[in-house]
């Protein structure tokens, strides 16, 4: 089978799965539609939250950003995960306790004001629309590559699919589709990471591989990477920071607060049965997110290593070349020299 046919088959099957799930779990009541009847298991909700929240940014571009920024890229890792601590302790349980469907409803009732409610609706729409624009751009780019169609056509296909399963299944359908999406996403992300880690360090777990020695030598991977980059005239990977400490501090803080306030994440906590479940569910969400977020720095550093190591690009390409090429491409516009060994 040609690559094109295989791609169509895999993408087609995934869509069929998502739509199948939506039809199977059709929403029949208002409560089903908005909050999945409030009986989603906290672990299932955690997984769905993880898939919902880890979007084009985490999946497509974060490792590339970190590879490019070195230590400075940590602000995305800490900022985007740290927000869940705020969410779990300051927001989710209280909103769940209130027991309505949406945040504006809470604001309106809490402050006895219809105006407050309208203001909340406007904020929510602005936040969501901004967010969706970014995601849709990602969908358009990904689909136009995979299906080899025009960017606009890819965008419309993606929107159509999401529309069908969201309208049919409501929050219940979305929950189960997102669980399926999480499984697809985490496999696609960790498998190349495991292979690149094994190849470079002999250690299959990227989180540990990043702190290990290079295979067949006594030198630690990060030390070697620092040394190679310094030799080429760049900043050390592990200390390189493009921003001052103060800027990193406020950047990280803003990402944390932003994460805690995302409307589509908050509403997920209305789907669990009890307040207690809202608390643990935030923990589970972060567990599933952490699997990807602790792998990303490994992918970033190892991909950097692969692309700068002298002589590493002669002859055969390793199994991990796909992920490497992806991060290298993300960088090429800003730092041409480091990709010249590609």
């Amino acid at each position: 089978m040609s690559l094109q046919a295989t791609t169509y088959l895999v993408v087609g099957l995934t869509f069929a799965l998502y739509i199948g799930i939506a039809i199977w779990s059709r929403a029949s009541t208002t409560k089903d539609f908005y909050v999945a009847g409030s009986h989603v298991h906290p672990v299932a909700n955690g997984m769905a939250t993880a898939a919902d929240w880890m979007s084009a940014a985490s999946f497509i571009s974060m490792a590339g950003l970190i590879a490019f920024m070195g230590y400075g890229g940590s602000l995305f890792l800490m900022g985007w995960t740290g927000g869940y601590v705020l969410l779990a302790m300051l927001l989710a349980p209280y909103l769940r306790k209130f027991g309505k469907f949406t945040v504006p409803e809470f604001i309106g009732d809490r402050y006895y004001s219809k105006t407050a409610r309208i203001v909340a609706v406007i904020c929510l729409i602005i936040a969501s629309v901004t967010y969706v624009i970014g995601q849709m751009k990602g969908i358009g780019v990904a689909f136009s590559r995979f299906l080899e169609v025009d960017y606009n056509v890819g965008l419309v296909i993606g929107m159509g699919i999401v529309f069908v399963y969201a309208v049919l299944g409501g929050m219940k359908g979305i929950t189960y589709t997102q669980i399926a999406q999480y499984c697809v996403l985490i496999f696609a992300y960790t498998i190349p990471a495991i292979f690149i880690s094994m190849q470079l360090t002999g250690m299959p777990i990227p989180q540990l591989g990043l702190g290990s020695t290079m295979s067949g030598s006594e030198v630690y991977l990060l030390d070697r990477l620092d040394q190679v980059l310094t030799d080429l005239g760049f900043a050390q990977y592990t200390t390189q920071a493009r921003l001052s400490s103060l800027n990193m501090f406020v950047y990280t803080m803003s990402l944390m607060i932003g994460t805690a306030g995302l409307p589509h994440v908050i509403i997920r906590f209305f789907t669990v049965p009890k307040v207690k479940d809202a608390r643990s569910s935030a923990g589970w969400a972060l567990v599933f997110i952490a699997i990807l977020y602790t792998t990303a720095p490994g992918v970033a550093a190892m991909a950097s290593m692969q692309s700068v190591r002298p002589g590493s690009r002669s002859g055969k390409r390793p199994a991990c070349s796909r992920s490497k090429t992806r991060t290298a491409t993300a960088r090429s516009s800003t730092r041409p020299i480091r990709t010249s060994t590609r």
């Binding site: 230590y71 940590s74 890792l77 800490m78 995960t81 740290g82 869940y84 601590v85 705020l86 779990a88 302790m89 300051l90 349980p93 989180q207 540990l208 990043l210 702190g211 290990s212 020695t213 630690y220 991977l221 990060l222 030390d223 592990t238 200390t239 400490s245 990193m248 501090f249 990280t252 803080m253 009890k274 307040v275 207690k276 608390r279 643990s280 935030a282 923990g283 972060l286 567990v287 952490a290 977020y293 602790t294 720095p297």
Partner: protein
């Protein structure tokens, strides 16, 4: 009434404790103190770099579960848990 106030106070104390740790591992170890901590190494990692890249995320996960567990206990102690209305 004082029962409720006690519950709320204990709740706030727990949140303050957890958020203090949250702040120290990310902003403290990962950003402000990163340079001195980089002098210490953890395997192939510099410690400050490790906190910024990996450690803070592990601590966040542990913190949320610790908080959820402690809140569950507090709820039962102050008899505001939800198991009865099921």
């Amino acid at each position: 009434m004082s029962q409720k106030a006690d519950y709320w106070k204990a709740n706030l104390r727990l949140i303050a404790f957890c958020l203090a740790i949250w702040f120290v591992v990310s902003f403290g170890f990962g950003i402000i103190l990163v340079e001195p901590l980089n002098g210490i190494s953890l395997g192939g990692y510099k410690l400050g770099f490790w906190f910024a890249n990996q450690g803070s995320i592990y601590v966040f996960v542990a913190l949320i579960f610790f908080y959820a567990n402690r809140m569950g206990k507090l709820d039962r102690e102050h008899d505001v848990h939800e198991d009865k209305d099921v």
